[in-house]
Amino acid sequence: MSGNAFATRVAVTVVALGAVTTAAGAADFDWKKFQGKTVTFLANNNPVSQALLTYKGDFEKLTGMTLKVDGYQEQQMRQRLVTVMNARSDEVDVFMTLPSREGEQFAAAGWYGDLSAMSKNQAAKDYDFAGLSQALLKAGTFGGKLTSMPMNIEGPILYYRTDIFKKCGIEKPATIKDVEAAAQKIKACDSTITPFVSRGLKPAVAYTFSNMLHNIGGSYMANGKSNLCSPKGKEALDTYIRLLRDYGPPGVVNYSFQQISALYRSGRAAMSFESSNELRTVMDGGERLKDTGLAPFPAGEAGLVPTAIGWGMAVSAFSKQQEPAWYFVQWATSPEVQKRMAAQGIAPPRPAVANDPDYRKWIDEQPVRKEWQAALDVLATKGSSEVGYPIVANPQSREFIGQAVQDLILKQKTLDQACADADKGLNELIAQK
């Protein structure tokens, strides 16, 4: 069954289920309570919001509210948010947020509305708050305040070419050392193929590097100071840059998810360490469907500590209609909607949705989807949402990590110099209030 056919079936089932469950919940929860209101949603134009907004009409029909969507690319969305929030404007009611990146910062600035009470007292019976990933809910909680509801779960995973591995006599890597050994063999076996590719673009590096650091057993901070120059930190930096510098594509310092997926999809890379969200892009055209294996990034000395994050939906602290806004958040993160989004390749932040029979059927259609789900299961159970430093200035901390990685790839500094310079800047950031 194709993805579209599945989506149609799920949609029909969900509409029917929705009618029943809404009728059942209607006794104590009125979806039409804010009929006639308009809720403004500041969205990041990524696959998550695109999948969600396919059902915009259903929300408007269910609630009688109007959903005004203000959509931008990720960075432009943040730019707009900063302007609106600094002016304490009520123009935006709901916005998308990455708690792992900006959570500490936005919470400290007081930009998030508190969802703790609304998620308990004003939820439809079928909302199943407890069914949401507890790890992601925790990642969106700051100072005891629940600030966002998870929309998806994602993290970097290893995409590898089974045909090239077979041709070069390589087994699926079980450890980080195996990854490097495999890259070395591929380089010797087929010089036309890029053995390994991952993120080298400065602001994007932390997403994949964090997984490497945690698997090796390192940590960003120790005793309130930056820990990048610790032996484990140095080992992680050295391993990451060795993989990119010695086995990566030329110009890898400008590589983020677009370039990585394009290279892998075109068949020019044997291993790609990139987001689970890229499955749809990588499989587009079907060429990689039969020759790709997927797995969490192999274990280091600390085992598997994959990076697992998710986009969240937050209500603005300055919104004058927080309750109608919560109705939208609740609908968008409900089991029904997340089940429908899952059929579009958006990994659900609800284990129950992942076990839904229709969803399982879609997963079982392709071995690669099975491996994708298995990798996501590991992310959900063992994942860490620490991407960059757990401080208010997290986005800026990612710059220092990226700078150290780039300095090393470009051979502009020694390992000791690069991490010492990064630590100096990072300690200043940590000291900032």
């Binding site: 900063v82 986005p395 780039q406 209030k433």
Partner: protein, 295 residues
């Protein structure tokens, strides 16, 4: 007999016109003045990552003097500016001469010559990003087909500035050509006739007549491109975001990141006002030069 009371004197007419246009003038002034005044005000304040603000006086400006990133950004901005400007002037004047002398060139070919600057910079940036990709792009494919070594282009700290300058030159040299072409078409033919009678060669005619007479037009093109180049942002942000490392981190890119990624709006305002002062200074200097070369 003329009714004195109904006579509209020039003074009264001026006063009436001033009163009628005053709201529009005031509105326009306010629209221009408000963002500038607000930016100046922001520049005197310090903002923490969480948006807490405090008055810091000239603190942001003294921080700027001690900030290595600022000086590096200034150097990158000036290097990119000078390289791009020189390339665009040479290529623009050459293109203009070509179009001026090839009077029979079909309209479609003329339009093609000037089409790059009509393309949105974001589209141009994305297009060049694909062409210059070291692994998948056409640029390295062509180099290798010609037996030349491939380049890292935008990913090389050494080549990134020349590469961005080349992209900008591809887009804006035709614009310079269009301005120069207008200047060429307005030159008096009698001077050329006199030169021809005196037996001046084509090169001498260009060096001794065309170029001096074109100077005011060229300075105008320099002013227009200077303003754009000093506040150059879009293509750099699309192609490198200031990298690799900080190799293409111009003042504008640095200010944007400080303001919108690290939320230090006060320091970003100080950076942007400094850049604005540099742009104003350059425009004033070139305006003086234009006065000196006018004929």
């Amino acid at each position: 007999m003329v009714d004195a009371a109904n006579t509209v004197t020039p003074d009264r007419q001026r006063a009436e016109l001033a009163a009628l246009s005053a709201p529009a003038v005031l509105f326009t002034l306010a629209m221009i003045a408000f963002p500038v005044i607000y930016t100046v005000w922001l520049g005197f304040h310090s903002f923490t990552s969480t948006g807490q603000q405090s008055f810091t006086g000239l603190g942001n400006y003294s921080k700027l003097i001690a900030d290595n990133e600022f000086w590096h950004g200034l150097w990158v901005t000036l290097a990119l500016y000078l390289l791009s400007l020189v390339l665009q002037l040479f290529l623009g004047i050459w293109l203009a001469m070509l179009l001026f002398n090839a009077k029979r060139l079909p309209g479609i070919v003329r339009s093609l010559f000037i089409s790059p600057f009509m393309m949105p910079p974001v589209v141009a940036g994305l297009m060049w990003l694909v062409i210059l990709d070291p692994s998948l792009g056409a640029a390295n494919y062509i180099l290798q087909a010609a037996g030349l070594p491939p380049s890292d282009w935008l990913a090389s700290p050494i080549w990134v500035i020349p590469t961005i300058a080349l992209i900008d030159t591809w887009q804006w040299a035709p614009y310079v050509a269009l301005i120069v072409l207008g200047g060429l078409q307005s030159l008096p033919p009698s001077v050329y006739e006199a030169a021809q009678i005196d037996g001046a060669s084509a090169f001498t005619t260009f060096r001794r007549i065309t170029l001096p007479l074109l100077l005011p037009t060229i300075v105008t093109a320099v002013i227009l491109r200077s303003v754009d180049l000093l506040r150059f942002f879009d293509i750099i942000y699309i192609t490198t975001q200031g990298g690799p490392g900080n190799a293409s981190n111009t003042l504008n890119i640095y200010g944007f990141r400080v303001g919108f990624e690290f939320f230090n709006i006060g320091y970003a305002s100080a950076l942007m006002l400094t850049l604005t002062a540099i742009v104003f200074g350059a425009v004033l200097a070139f305006n003086r030069l234009r006065g000196a070369v006018a004929w």
